[in-house]
Symmetry: C2
Subunit: 196 residues, 2 copies
C-alpha cells in the first residue's frame, strides 16, 4: 500500500520519549507540555493521536495494554520496538548531517517586497526589529535562569541555536532598513519608479 514514510518531526519526539518508558498518547502530551517541547518542535496535542497511529501501523511502536477510568474512552499504552529504536537513531543522524531547505515566511515576503511602496517598508522592519530584540532578550534570560538552576547544557542546545539565528536575522533586518532609509538608490531604480 502507498504508505508514505512518516516524515514528521513530532514522530521523532514520540519515539524518543517512548525510549524511556511505555506511555499512552495523552501522557506523552503532558510530558511534552511540561518540558516545553513546543518551543522547539511544532506540536499540536491533536496530532499526537495521528502520529501514534502511524508509528504503530509501521511497527515502530506497539500497543502494550489498555485501561479505562470511568466512562472515558479506553487508553492504550504504547512501547517502542527494536525497529523503532533503529529508526530513531537513523532519522536523527540524517536530520543532523543534512541541512534541509527551510522556507521562512519572511523570506517569501522579502521576495515580494517590490509589491509594497518603498516608504511603507522601514516602519514595518522596525517593528520586526523590536519583536526580534524581545525574543533575543527573552531567550538569553531563560538560558541564564535555567543554567542557574543546574539544567545541563545538552538540553539547551536548541535554544542556543534559536538565539543564534534570531540574532543573525536581527542584524540583517537592521542592515536592509538602514539601506532603504539612507541609500535607497543602491537597491535599484525599479522599485521607486514602479510606485509612481
Amino acid at each position: 500500500m502507498g504508505a508514505m514514510p512518516v516524515q514528521n518531526p513530532l514522530a521523532l519526539v514520540v519515539l524518543a520519549y517512548l525510549t524511556q518508558e511505555p506511555m499512552h498518547p495523552y501522557q506523552i502530551g503532558q510530558l511534552l507540555k511540561e518540558r516545553n517541547v513546543g518551543a522547539s518542535v511544532k506540536f499540536r496535542p491533536s496530532s499526537l493521536y495521528m502520529v501514534v497511529d502511524q508509528l504503530s501501523r509501521d511497527g515502530y511502536i506497539e500497543a502494550r495494554d489498555s485501561s479505562r477510568a470511568g466512562r472515558r474512552p479506553e487508553r492504550t499504552t504504547y512501547a517502542i520496538t527494536g525497529s523503532g529504536r533503529a529508526e530513531l537513531r537513523e532519522r536523527l543522524a540524517a536530520l543532523i548531517a543534512t541541512p534541509d531547505e527551510e522556507f521562512p515566511r519572511f523570506r517569501s515576503a522579502l521576495s515580494l517586497l517590490v509589491a509594497l511602496p518603498p516608504e511603507d517598508v522601514p516602519p514595518l522592519l522596525r517593528k520586526r526589529e523590536s519583536s526580534l530584540q524581545e525574543d533575543v532578550d527573552e531567550i538569553r534570560d531563560r538560558l541564564a535562569r535555567v543554567r542557574g538552576e543546574g539544567v545541563e547544557r545538552v538540553f539547551l542546545l536548541e535554544h542556543e541555536h534559536r538565539l543564534a539565528l534570531c540574532e543573525a536575522e536581527l542584524a540583517y533586518v537592521r542592515r536592509i532598513r538602514d539601506l532603504i532609509e539612507n541609500d535607497p538608490d543602491s537597491l535599484g531604480d525599479f522599485w521607486r519608479d514602479f510606485h509612481r
Copy 2:
C-alpha cells in the same frame, strides 16, 4: 461556512504575480519556475490549482475567460480583484512586521540529541558543516553573478537573507562540534553516563 483564512505563502505569490496581468494557473507555474521562485517559497505545481480555487472562492481573484486547445481540459484565466490587492498589501505588511515562530527540523533534532551516543555526533556535524559551506559558497557565487548581469538588489534580498542565516547556522554548528570534541564536560554528565 467554516472557511479558514488562506494562510499559505504560495497564495501571496499568486496574488503578486496576478498584479501584473491575468494568467491561468499553468502559466503562473511556468513563470515561477523561470524566475526560480522555488528557491525562496515552498512551491509544488500541483498546489497552484488548489490555491487558485481558494483565492477565487474568497473573492481575491476572478475568472476572466477560458479557452481550450485540442482535447486538453479548459484553461481559465484569472485576474486579481480590488480586495485581492488589499489583501496582498496587508498580508505582506504583516509578514514583515511580525516574526513568526519557525521550527527547523535541525532544531528538533538538537532537542533530541541526547538520544544519540556522543561519539557519533561530531562526524554528523562535520557533514552538516560542509553542506552548509557549499550552500554559502553557492549563494555567494549566484549573488555575484546576477549582480554582474545587472539584476537590481531589491530582487536579491531573499537570497541575502538566506546567506545570512546559513552563515549563522554554520558558525553555531562549528561551535558546538568544537565543544563536543574538546570540552565534552561542559555539556554535562548526563549524556555521557546515559550511553554506558
